[in-house]
Amino acid sequence: MKPEPETNDIILRTGASIMVPLILLWGLYVLIHGALGPGGGFQAGVILAAGFILYTAAFGLGETKKILTMKRVLLLASTGLLIYAGVGVLAIISGGSFLEYGVLPLGHSPAESSKYGIEMVEVGIGLTVMAIMVSIFYDIAFNGE
């Protein structure tokens, strides 16, 4: 049972080095664009995780763990959930009820501040989904090593 499926496939490596930046950029676009067009936190999180999984498939686990260590993955997942719940608590502090974005002091009208509140929540969801998908991939693909 080899823990690290190293590959020297030149087609896979060249393809991945072209594709991975585009996939990550596209994931960020979907994350930010969620309020106006098709997109949102869940989809963007899965797209970003797919970029990292392709990178791992081409360059091995060691290279990916230089960027996304296990500690950082857990930190990202908890930060995403904290952003989501924090926006809810921020709405309570601003004088509304939990997750009532209209009262947040972000825009001129309730609708506008609600839009920015939704964007922040989407970023939180995206971070959590990306980190958890990458963590599940690390654990299952490499048998807990």
């Binding site: 106006l36 959930l81 997750l99 989407e122 969801i125 958890i132």
Partner: protein, 91 residues
């Protein structure tokens, strides 16, 4: 023996579910009950109340924000559970 029992119960399951199909609305029926209850209010209020043009995002994060918070917590918990179950090396 086990295989015959499984096939028999699957056939029964299929027949019971197909028996209920005539009561369901047609594919693409605009007058189906599920399109009439709260959805027109969501479509109306998506831009006025939530300020976003994507109605799915408005429902996901604004009208049903609690639900999505719960779902995110479920994903987080599932990730932690996978770690606890199969990780051998902690560092």
């Amino acid at each position: 023996m086990r295989r015959y029992l499984a096939v028999l119960s699957c056939a029964l399951f299929w027949a019971i579910l197909v028996y209920g199909v005539p009561d369901l609305p047609d594919l693409g029926d605009p007058d189906a009950p599920s399109h009439k209850h709260v959805v027109p209010e969501y479509i109306e209020g998506s831009y006025k109340e939530a300020g976003v043009t994507n109605i799915v995002t408005a429902i996901l994060a604004n009208y049903r924000g609690y639900d999505t918070l719960g779902e995110t917590t479920v994903i987080f918990t599932a990730g932690i559970t996978v770690m606890l179950l199969i990780r051998r090396k902690w560092k």
